[in-house]
Amino acid sequence: MRLPKFEYLVARSVAEVCDILAQHQGEAKVLAGGTDLLVAMKVRSVTPRYLVSLKAVPRLDAVVVVNDHLSLGPRLSLAAVASSQIIRETLPALAEAANAAAAPELRSAGTLGGNICLDNRCTYYNQSDVWRRNWEACFKCGGERCYIVKGGKQCYAVASADTVPALMVFDASVRLVSKDGERIVPLEQFYTGNGDVPNILHAAEMVSEILVPRPQPGWSSAFQKMARRKAIDFPLLDVAVALQLVDDICKSARIALSAVGPAPIRARGAERALIGKRLSSSIIEEAAVQASKEAGPLSAIGTTVAYRRQMINVQVRRTIERLAVAN
């Protein structure tokens, strides 16, 4: 498969990237690792006229510890996130999540920013150009129907990024910059719930920083990925849990799920089931059952809907148990 033709531009600063994105009115895209973008271009899902490379923009792949938070560069490779000593010690679930993504070579090239901005996935969308031309277009292909939810009025392509639920249990935010200024958006609000346009990033914006508050003492975290194979695959289900345990009582809880719908979700009902309680197996099971009810319509791609919902229960339970046992 040949890439479509485009013009290749090299920026030397974030400001220059923003100038280029603004100048080219939605026809330019940022090139970081390219592991999602170039694939999409090969199958003609996106055909930007300009790619602006980040390779010469300095200081985009640093891990900086500030007083109360960590500042992560968007061009940090997933491999670097997985192996960073600071991230492994301070944000263990994030290191686990980055290490669970894809495969070694893809993690070396793929970036944290790219994973956060990963396009949503669906069996009816992630096909070759020729395949899609022979089906009536679904919403994500510019049509008027969804093949996942019969009679569905929106796109249900699945949010498939592994690092996102881990970032969400740490209350991470992203800094979005453009020529007109910048905004800091909590990660949970970055996603739209619409599989067709999964996040709120404007065509002239780029993610310049990921901000993660440093967890207070007493917090621990874990991440669990379920996929067909042990490598390469996108998730069938991701669970991230962060708990603050004080004297064996759960003072605070964060549970986030990915690959359960068009947006990653916090399972707030499940979190409430744990707060103020000792983590007995019945309490954990209650939270796990609650979590499985909180995901919206599930796709039957690769498995049955009933199995998928049951697996939310199982994987949430296992992940909480890992933390309960460790503490």
Binding site: M1, R2, L3, P4, K5, F6, E7, Y8, L31, G34, T35, L38, V39, K42, L51, S53, K55, A102, A103, P104, E105, L106, S108, A109, K230, A231, I232
Partner: protein
């Protein structure tokens, strides 16, 4: 849009004029005639296109040639010295890890990179390292045996 770039491959320098949309895989095979690197899935999901960039395994089908100007690129052709197979290549041959041959260039380069940074890997570490590579012929058994044998051979040689 054409760009004049210098690519360093297997210790040699090439002055090329390359269009923006050419991947490193295409330039290696079609412009430089280095067909040892294979195109299989062309989507980053199989590892057949793997080369070493700065000694690290990378997928050349998802790398623009323009992105790697100035970097040291090693293809499978760059492994043997004066016709003598690299110990990893030798182990692959001896252990029967070469069947159709298509996964081998990628497997061998990734294995070499593994042993360069971890001379005595466990079986689990070998399997992790090659987890981005698909092999339809060997069931991966022969590949793992070859890498472990190569690790012993390299340790004995040093």
């Amino acid at each position: 849009m054409k760009h004049a770039i210098e690519l360093k491959v297997n210790g040699e320098s090439y002055d090329l004029v390359v269009e923006s949309h050419r991947t490193l895989l295409e330039v290696l095979r079609e412009t430089l005639g280095l067909t040892g690197t294979k195109e299989a899935c062309d989507l980053g999901s199989c590892g057949a296109c793997t080369v070493l960039i700065g000694g690290q395994p990378a997928l050349s089908c998802l790398t623009l040639a323009l992105e790697v100007e100035g970097k040291e690129i090693t293809t499978i052709e760059g492994l043997a010295e004066n016709g003598r197979l690299h110990p990893v290549q030798k182990a692959f041959v001896e252990k029967g890890a070469v069947q159709c041959g298509y996964c081998n260039p990628g497997m061998v380069l990734t294995s070499k990179a593994l042993l360069d940074s971890n001379p005595k890997p466990t079986e689990q570490e070998v399997r992790q390292a090659i987890s981005g590579h698909l092999c339809r012929c060997t069931g991966f058994v022969k590949v793992v045996e070859a890498v472990l044998a190569a690790s012993e051979a390299l340790i004995d040689a040093n």
